[in-house]
Amino acid sequence: MKILVCITHVPDTTSKIQFTADNTKFDSTGVQYIIGPYDDYALARAVELRDQASGKLTVLNVGEADSDPTLRKALAIGADDAVRVNSTPKDSYFVAKQIAHYAKEGAYDLILMGRESIDFNGGMVHGMVGELLGIPSFSPVMKLDVEGSTVKMAREIEGGKEMLEANLPLIAGCQEPIAEWKIPNMRGIMSARTKPLTVVEPVSQDTQAEASKYELPPAKGAVKLVDKDNVAELVRLLKNEAKVL
C-alpha cells in the first residue's frame, strides 16, 4: 500500500500571534515551528498502517526551505521519504493543486492529512484534492482501519460520530483519537538524516482566495470578579449588563 501524508509547517500552539509590515505579514520572530498537530495524528496513523501492510509512506509539504526541519522530523517519526513543493502555501486551492498533481503521478492508495492547518484553519484541502482526483474524501476522521481494499472509518459529526465504509483509494482529514502522537527515537532521528528529501517546483501558480491583510482581535477588558458568597450578583450582571441570558 502506498500512503501519502501531507503535513503543514505551522507555529507552535503556544505562539504569540503578531503581524509585521503594516499587518501584511506574520511575524515569525521567536516562533517555534512544528508539524501541524492534526497532521501529526495523520502521520502517526499512517506509520502504523504502513508497518501493518509493509507499504511505503511518503510525506509531503508545500512550503519554503524553512519547512525542511519539519519534514526531517516526519522522517524521524517514520516516513520513508519526503517531498517538498517549493513555494509558500498561498491558499487552499493552490496547495490542493500541488498535492493532487503529485498524488496522481505517484498513484497513492491512501492520502492522509490533518483535518485543518492550525494557522489558516480552512480544513478545505483534503476535499479539494479528493474532487481534483475524483476519489472520495472524508473529514474529520477519528478512526481509520484498512481491511484489504475496504476502509472503515469513524467521522466526527456534531454531537457524535458516524461509522463509514469506503474503498481505496481515498483521502481523509484526520484528528484525534485516530492514533497516539509518535515521538521520534534516536534511531529514527539518525536514519532521517539519510532518507531522501526531494524538492520539486510547483505545477501551477493559480490562486483563488489569498489573504492580504491581518488584524488582531480587540484587547479584552479586565475580568469583573463577583464574591463567591453573592452569586446572585453574577446572574444579575449576565442578565442586565452583558445581556446574555
Binding site: 503556544t14 469506503a166 488584524e215 477588558g221 470578579l225 446572574v235
Partner: protein, 322 residues
C-alpha cells in the same frame, strides 16, 4: 440571479446554523444586488419545516427529497448542491461551517471553480473587489481574503450575523436530483449521536468543566446548570483524555471550537490550547478556586471559589432569576 444556501438537516429538522446562513445570504444579496435567496435542502424533511426557511430570508426552497440523501454523504451532497447551483444560475453559495458543510464546500469549490473562504465572520466588502474577513490562528487573529474568481463560496462561522426570523414562508419546489452511482460508493453503516441534548457546536450557552471537578461522577451539577440554561455541556482536553466525558465534548485547539454567547468554565485553568477553542465566545464566565488561574485573564466575569460550593448556589440563583 440568486444566491444559493446549502441547508443541513438532522432527523428532518433544519439546523439553526443553516438558518443563520440564509440570513447572511439575504443581507449579502441586499448589498450586491444578487436577487433572491434560494435554499437547497436534501433528504426527508416536512413541507412546513421547509417553508419556514423563508422566515430567515429565503424566497424559494429547492427540495431534493430522495431519501438516499438523508444521510450526509459528502460526495452525493456536493453533486446535488452543484446541480442546484447551476440550475438557478447562482454566482454565490453560502453555507454554515460544520462537519458536513466543510467537507461538501471543499468539493464544490473545485466542481464550481469557485473561490472558497471558510470561517467567515462578517459580510464581505464588495464596493471595490471582493474582500472577506475570516477568523484564523484558531480565533487569535483575522485575515482579509481577496477572492478573485467570479463564483464564490462562503462558509460562515457561528454568530457571523444575527439570525432574523421575520420573513414570510418560502415557496417550496421539488428538485430532481440526478446523481451518479459512484457518489454513493461509500456508505454510512451507523450513527451515534447524543439525543435530546443541545448540540455543542450550535449552542448559544455552553457549560464546561475541567479537571478541577475531580471525576466524572461530579458532572451532575454541570448537567443541571446546562438544563436550567438550555445549554450544551463541554469539557477540557484532559477530561476527555481521561475518558470522563466523550471526545465530541472536548473544546480547544484540537477539539471543538465554539462561539456561544455565553461560555461558563468551571474548574478549568485556561491553558492557551483551551482558550483557542473558546476565544470567539461573546461572554466568558470563569469559576476557579485558584485566583491565579490564567483563564481569569480571558474572562469577562469570574468567581474565585470552590466549584463544589459555588455551582450549586449558582444553580439556585439561575433558577430564581430565570
Amino acid at each position: 440571479m440568486s444566491i444559493l444556501v446549502y441547508i443541513e438537516q438532522a432527523e428532518g429538522k433544519v439546523k439553526k446554523t443553516s438558518l443563520e446562513a440564509v440570513s447572511f445570504a439575504n443581507a449579502l444579496a441586499g448589498q450586491t444586488g444578487e436577487g433572491d435567496v434560494v435554499a437547497v435542502a436534501l433528504g426527508t424533511i416536512g413541507n412546513d419545516e421547509l417553508a419556514a426557511i423563508g422566515k430567515a430570508g429565503a424566497a424559494k426552497v429547492l427540495h431534493g427529497a430522495d431519501s438516499k440523501l438523508d444521510a450526509g454523504l459528502i460526495q452525493a451532497h456536493a453533486s446535488a448542491v452543484a446541480q442546484a447551483y447551476k440550475q438557478i444560475g447562482a454566482k454565490t453559495l453560502v453555507l454554515a461551517k460544520s462537519s458536513l458543510g466543510d467537507a461538501v464546500a471543499a468539493r464544490l469549490a473545485i466542481k464550481l471553480n469557485a473561490g472558497l473562504v471558510s470561517n467567515v465572520v462578517e459580510l464581505p466588502k464588495t464596493d471595490a473587489g471582493y474582500i472577506v474577513k475570516r477568523s484564523i490562528y484558531t480565533g487569535k487573529a483575522f485575515a482579509e481574503t481577496t477572492v478573485t474568481t467570479d463564483d464564490k463560496i462562503l462558509a460562515i462561522k457561528k454568530n457571523a450575523i444575527d439570525l432574523k426570523l421575520d420573513g414570510a414562508d418560502a415557496q417550496v419546489e421539488s428538485f430532481d436530483v440526478t446523481i451518479k452511482d459512484a457518489d454513493f460508493a461509500s456508505k454510512i453503516t451507523s450513527t451515534e449521536r447524543a439525543t435530546g441534548d443541545v448540540l455543542l457546536p450550535e449552542a448559544d450557552i455552553v457549560v464546561s468543566g475541567g479537571r478541577g471537578l475531580k471525576g466524572p461522577e461530579n458532572w451532575g451539577m454541570l448537567e443541571e446548570m446546562a438544563k436550567i440554561l438550555g445549554a450544551a455541556t463541554a469539557c477540557s482536553k484532559p477530561v476527555s483524555d481521561l475518558g470522563w466525558r466523550p471526545h465530541h465534548e472536548h473544546v480547544g485547539q484540537t477539539g471543538v471550537k465554539v462561539a456561544p454567547t455565553l461560555y461558563i468554565a468551571i474548574g478549568i485553568s485556561g491553558a492557551i490550547q483551551h482558550l483557542a477553542g473558546v476565544n470567539s465566545s461573546k461572554c466568558i464566565v470563569v469559576i476557579n478556586k485558584d485566583p491565579d488561574a490564567p483563564f481569569f485573564k480571558a474572562a469577562d466575569y469570574g468567581i474565585v471559589g470552590d466549584a463544589f460550593e459555588v455551582v450549586p448556589k449558582l444553580n439556585e440563583a439561575f433558577k430564581a432569576e430565570l
